[in-house]
């Protein structure tokens, strides 16, 4: 809404809020109102109040609060009217968009104040089931930065940001959304996610670092992927992020200091992972029947038989023919073919 360079308040030709078409003649009324015509202001007020009221009721879901916000919108617009400037193809739409932007900003401030007040009154209450009104504000409403930029460019930037956010791991993306879109502090995010605040900060740092690298304007040549990048899509330099390192990547995983973030999870360890399985603790996936405190012995004859083996052995003890599993497959292979033939014949008896 406000141009950061000149301080002028800019309205674009794109109308926002319910009833997108702006009433005709708004710009002429606005011109006369800005020159001091009280009758023009009255006509402008009559034309926009129903739309503003409906828009704010839709945002804040509270009729009384919406009425107050409508009054605040008009007062704020009156104080800032000298900075109004039309930029766009539709002057009438620009006037409506200007008022709707002021109204939206006031609604967001009011909702944030409500959320803070609710948390202050009920600090321990989980609000997982509570409706978060901030999250329901339509994301397609123009922000101050979008108004400043052309609509097409704004759409491109929006799609790039959404693509970049989709690339983030779920945990990092959630923190970015809570921090940037919903305006929660790190402490509030930690309380909501029931994790330590330090963990929240670490994830947020990694997420913003990755986003900064992905959304950096395209470079002439990308050293990380060793190819010319002559296009507009900065996401082609997606090889940045987890693999982007200042020092060359070591070839031996065991020599690396930190595992790649993508490989986090079960393999994420502070110390290097041992190469020998027998030396490692079993991973959580392999817990269960094989979960043992002591390492598993290599030689089967040294191990205790599994329950299935015990059952099969007990069954085999009642038969003439030894169960193949009792001997092990290697025992079968070691026998002479003739002896194997004899072993297969139950009438021959005995073990081969």
């Amino acid at each position: 809404m406000t141009s950061p360079g000149t301080g002028r308040t800019i309205g674009t030709g794109r109308a926002s809020g319910p009833g997108r078409g702006a009433p005709p003649g708004l710009h002429a009324l606005m011109d006369r109102y800005l020159d001091g015509d009280a009758r023009a202001f009255a006509a402008l007020h009559a034309a926009l109040v129903p739309r503003l009221t409906a828009f704010l009721v839709h945002l804040v879901r509270d009729t009384a609060a919406a009425d107050d916000l409508v009054q605040a919108t008009w007062l704020k617009a009156h104080l800032a009217r000298a900075r109004f400037q039309v930029q766009g193809t539709s002057p009438d739409g620009a006037v409506q968009a200007w008022y709707f932007t002021i109204a939206r900003n006031l609604a967001v401030d009011w909702l944030r104040a409500q959320v803070r007040e609710r948390r202050r009154r009920e600090p321990g209450a989980g609000d997982a089931d509570d409706r978060d009104p901030l999250a329901e504000i339509p994301s397609d409403l123009p922000t101050a930065e979008e108004l400043e930029i052309g609509e097409a460019e704004a759409q491109e930037i929006t799609s790039r940001i959404r693509d970049a956010l989709a690339q983030l791991p779920a945990g990092q993306r959630e923190i970015v959304e809570l921090h940037k879109f919903q305006g929660l502090s790190m402490a509030e995010i930690a309380a909501r996610l029931r994790i330590r605040e330090g963990a929240v900060r670490v994830r947020a740092h990694r997420a913003y670092k990755a986003l900064a690298q992905w959304l950096t304007p395209p470079c002439e040549s990308c050293s990380c992927c060793s190819r010319e990048v002559g296009h507009d899509d900065a996401l082609s330099c997606r090889r940045r992020g987890s693999r982007s390192r200042r020092e060359p990547r070591s070839r031996h995983r065991s020599c690396r200091r930190e595992p790649c973030p993508r490989r986090r999870g079960f393999g994420s360890r502070r110390e290097p992972r041992s190469r020998h399985r027998s030396c490692r603790e079993p991973s959580p996936r392999h817990r269960g029947s094989r979960s043992r405190r002591e390492p598993r012995l290599h030689h089967r004859s040294c191990r205790e038989p599994s329950p299935r083996q015990r059952e099969s052995r007990s069954n085999a003890a009642g038969r003439d023919r030894p169960h193949p599993h009792a001997l092990g497959s290697r025992a079968i292979l070691r026998t002479h073919p003739d002896e194997r033939a004899g072993a297969r014949d139950p009438a021959s008896g005995g073990r081969a």
Binding site: A28, D31, R32, Y33, L34, D35, G36, D37, A38, R39, A40, F41, A42, H45, D68, V70, Q71, A72, T73, W74, L75, H78
Partner: protein, 211 residues
């Protein structure tokens, strides 16, 4: 919160209008005094009351437009609709031509008064431009050209300045022949309109940017 923003804003706009009136009242009085002093210095025409009634009415109408209607438009004190503004502009142009040319424009047999001479033409043109220039200076110094967002406000004031110059000369000069009135009265008035419009537009842009 039970405030009525509409009433508060309307009150604020009314207050600003009163402040603007108060600010420009001295400038307006000075703009009125300039043609009065000019006529006192040069003398009014001897056949003033011998003119036809309709031309006296038109001259009075020009004074009304020049001192009330057009300045109110230019200063943002009066906001007629678009149709009213168009009619007002056309009427102002028509009466300015009629008053500057005089009765001889409609009646070729109307007595010309004194015989025309180039020195008289120069004198009438100087009076028109001089009176207009003084009023232009008052408007420039008082910031009258920057009261409205659009430069059309400055053009309304320029028209008022031109009409003041035309009517001042008409109340002074007894020569009514078209050979004299068209170049020295009407021509000088058009020149004054162009000059005041140009100066007003420049000052409007400068003062708006500075503000």
């Amino acid at each position: 919160m039970t405030i009525d923003a509409k009433a508060l804003i309307a009150d604020d706009l009314g207050e600003r209008r009163r402040e603007r009136l108060q600010h420009f009242r001295p400038a307006w009085l000075l703009a009125v005094a300039i043609p009065v002093v000019g006529l006192l210095a040069t003398g009014a025409r001897d056949d003033f009351w011998a003119q036809p009634t309709w031309i006296l009415v038109l001259q009075a109408l020009v004074w009304g437009l020049a001192l009330f209607a057009l300045p109110a438009l230019g200063l943002g004190l009066w906001f007629p609709g678009r149709a009213a503004r168009v009619v007002l502009g056309l009427v102002a142009a028509a009466v300015a031509v009629a008053v500057a040319a005089g009765p001889a424009l409609f009646d070729r047999s109307y007595p010309t008064g004194l015989e025309d001479h180039p020195i008289y033409q120069f004198g009438c043109a100087s009076l028109t431009l001089g009176a207009g220039a003084l009023v232009l200076a008052v408007c420039a110094l008082s910031g009258a050209f920057a009261q409205r967002r659009r430069s059309a406000g400055a053009l309304w004031l320029a028209a008022a300045i031109a009409l003041i110059g035309i009517d001042t000369t008409t109340w002074h000069c007894v020569i009514t022949g078209l050979d004299h009135t068209l170049p020295s009265h009407l021509g000088a008035g058009v020149l004054m309109l162009l000059a005041a419009g140009l100066v007003g537009a420049v000052l409007h842009r400068r003062q708006r940017q500075a503000g």
